[in-house]
Structures are given as C-alpha cells and as structure tokens.
C-alpha cells in the first residue's frame, strides 16, 4: 500500500519534471490551498531528498554492508571442491570395502605421523576387520599393565579393548620429529575442518608439482592452496601405487585419498550407518502418521467446511420495531 502510493507520488514528480511546469502547477493549485509552491522549488526538493536518501543508503552500505574479511583469500585457503560422496547421501551407508582400503592407507602411510587415538580395536570388528584380524592387529602392540604387587608396570600385548597406539610418545616428540609442526590426531578430523571430506580429499590431492610463481613458501613448508595460509608442514604423502590394495583396486593417488577420507569419516562417525537406518524408519513412520493426521483432520472438519449457514429473515409480523 505504502510502497504503491509512494511510487505514484514519485512518478508524479518525474512526470512534472518531464511535462514542464504547467501540470504540476495545476495539481499543486488543486491540492494546496493558498500558499503558492513554485514547481522549480518542488523539483529541487524532490531531487535533493532523493539524493540524500540514496547517499545515506550508500554510506550505510559502505560502512556496514560488505563483510569484513580479517584474512586474505590466501590465508583462508582455497574452497574445497564439492564431491558427490556416495556415503553422504541420506540413505547410504559407508562402503565397507572402501573403509578396509582406507584403513590400509592409514596404517601404511598416515599412521607414521598421525595418531587415531579415539578409535579402539573393537570398533573394527564387524565393520572393517574380522575378529581374528582385529585381535592379531591389537596384539602387535604393547600396552602398559595395571601396577602389579610390587607397583611395577609391565608390558602386555594389546587387546580388542585397547585404543590404536600413537606414533609418538607425546606432542613434543611429534613436533620434534616434524620440524616443529604437530601432526594432529585424525580421529575427528572430518568433523573438525570446514568442508569435511571434501577438504581432506582436496588437501591430499591438491599439492602442485611446484608452487606457482610468486607464492611465498616458508622454510620447511609445502605449498598447498587448500590449506589455510597455503604453507603446510605436511608434504605430499600420496603417490600413485604407494600401497598394494589386497582387493586388487588400483592404488591411484585419488583412489587412496578417497578411501582414506571415507575411512576418516567412519572414524569420526562410526555410528553413521545405524543412525541413517534409524532415520529411514523414523521418516517412514512419521510420514504415515502425518498423512493419517491430515486425513483425520479433513474427515472431522468436512461437515463444518461443507455446511451452509443461511439467514432466513423473520416474518414481519413477528418483529417488534422500537420506534
């Protein structure tokens, strides 16, 4: 309403400006009583107030409009490409064959530097490994026992309830071995970074052969456009045919990156398969119930909606008019 009448009045002003003063004078004479408003002054006033309005909007936008970027695009890192991960579709589980390959990549490559400390061996049973495989793998490591009678702590082979061992004794050792950079724990990495799977995949496959001309790469750092700041302490680790997949899949760089990323997604969300299956059941049941409620509502309201209230005027004889 307001917008329309406002528009009409501006149209009138412009029309006045276009058609010469006569029209405006006529209308002004008809609307305003007495005091003669000169058309020229009216036009100037309209133009000035429009200029002030546009100016203040522009000033406001200049001040508060654009988002302030504290960092340069290079410091933000390149946005990771969106990949069509099948396991991220609503009703799809992880591809467990891929998880098995990804775990192999983790064990043979990443585990040299990165821990996966929140994942116990028992989590692999029935998802990635058989019980025997998981037990054998756990037994390859030594863990501290509870203190014995003399308070000594001894070593025992790992059990299914143990968590994956870290490659370094502590963070200081990890930094010392990696030029001062700490390889972060990968258990929750997919959840911990913007872009999740897309980011990790892009990071692992995004190392150019040499940094582009003009790029500043610090000492001991490697150029990777996806890493915020572009200088990352981790060098490219995946090269074609680095691992020998037991299922015969060709271990190209991107294949390994995809598998290990899906595996890391599993490590961060081992409950995903069950969660989605329950979600499917919930969605089906609730949509049936929703359809039922809609139907019941329409059923109950049908007679209210379809009735017709008619007014039968009373016969004159029965009405007493007060005079």
């Amino acid at each position: 309403m307001f917008a329309r009448s406002g528009l009409r009045s501006t149209q009138r002003v412009f029309a006045g400006a276009r058609n010469g003063a006569i029209n405006v004078t006529k209308r002004a004479a008809s609307t305003s009583s007495g005091a003669e408003a000169s058309p020229v002054r009216l036009n100037i006033a309209a133009a000035a107030s429009t200029a002030v309005a546009i100016g203040s909007i522009a000033w406001y936008y200049h001040l508060y409009g654009p988002t302030a970027h504290a960092m340069t695009p290079a410091e933000e890192g390149l946005h990771a490409t969106k990949y069509p991960w099948v396991h991220q579709q609503w009703f799809k589980t992880f591809d467990h064959q891929a998880l098995r390959r990804g775990f192999q990549v983790y064990r043979e490559v990443c585990a040299a530097c990165h821990s996966l400390q929140r994942v116990p061996y028992r989590a692999f049973v029935g998802t990635i490994l058989t019980v025997d495989e998981a037990k054998a793998m756990a037994e390859e490591n030594e863990y501290d026992t509870e203190p014995n009678d003399q308070g000594e702590i001894e070593k025992r082979p790992g059990k299914l309830s143990d968590y994956l061992p870290a490659p370094y004794k502590n963070d200081e050792a990890a930094r010392f071995a990696n030029n001062g950079a700490l390889p972060p724990d990968l258990s929750l990495m997919v959840k911990a970074r913007h872009g999740g799977c897309d980011y990790i995949f892009s990071l692992l496959t995004g190392y150019p052969d040499e940094p582009p001309a003009g790029a500043q790469v610090g000492a001991g750092l490697n150029f990777n456009p996806y890493f915020p700041g572009t200088g990352i302490a981790m060098a490219r680790v995946l090269y074609d045919d680095l691992v020998d997949y037991e299922d015969g899949t060709r271990a190209s760089t991107s294949q390994m990156a995809k598998d290990v990323t899906e595996f890391l997604n599993w490590a961060a969300e081992p409950e995903m398969d069950d969660r989605k299956r329950t979600g499917l059941k919930v969605l089906v049941v609730t949509s049936i119930l929703f359809a039922a409620t809609v139907w019941v509502k329409r059923y109950k309201w049908a007679y209210l909606k379809s009735r017709k209230i008619a007014y039968a005027p009373p016969k004159d004889a029965n009405v007493q008019h007060r005079q």
Partner: protein, 64 residues
C-alpha cells in the same frame, strides 16, 4: 457384523484383554516393521555393508 462383535468381546471389552491386545500388537508390529525396513535398507545398500563382504575375509582366515 457378527464377527466384529466377537472381536470386540474377545479383545476390547475387558480392560486386561485390551491391554494385552495393545501390547501384543505393538510388539508384533515393531518386529514386522523393523524386519521389513531392514530388508529395504539392505537392498538400498546392497554390496556396501560389512555383511556383504565379510564372507571373503572369513574364508580367507580359515584357509591360512
């Protein structure tokens, strides 16, 4: 209608019968629904789950 009368007398007339009916149907329905949906799920995700590839590795372990 006669059958409906029997149904009513048998299952809904007395409170304990009604209660038993509710509990049993809830239980039965839950089993039926879960089973059906799990089948649908396994069908959507054919070949992706551990149970689909498990056989390869169980047999492999036996052979060694």
């Amino acid at each position: 209608m006669a059958q409906l009368g029997t149904v009513y007398n048998l299952f809904f007339r007395r409170n304990y019968a009604m209660l038993a009916t509710v509990f049993t149907t809830a239980f039965a329905w839950e089993m039926l629904y879960d089973n059906t949906m799990n089948k649908v799920w396994d069908n959507i995700n054919k070949g992706r789950q551990w149970k689909d590839i498990r056989q390869k590795y169980i047999q492999g372990a036996d052979d060694e």
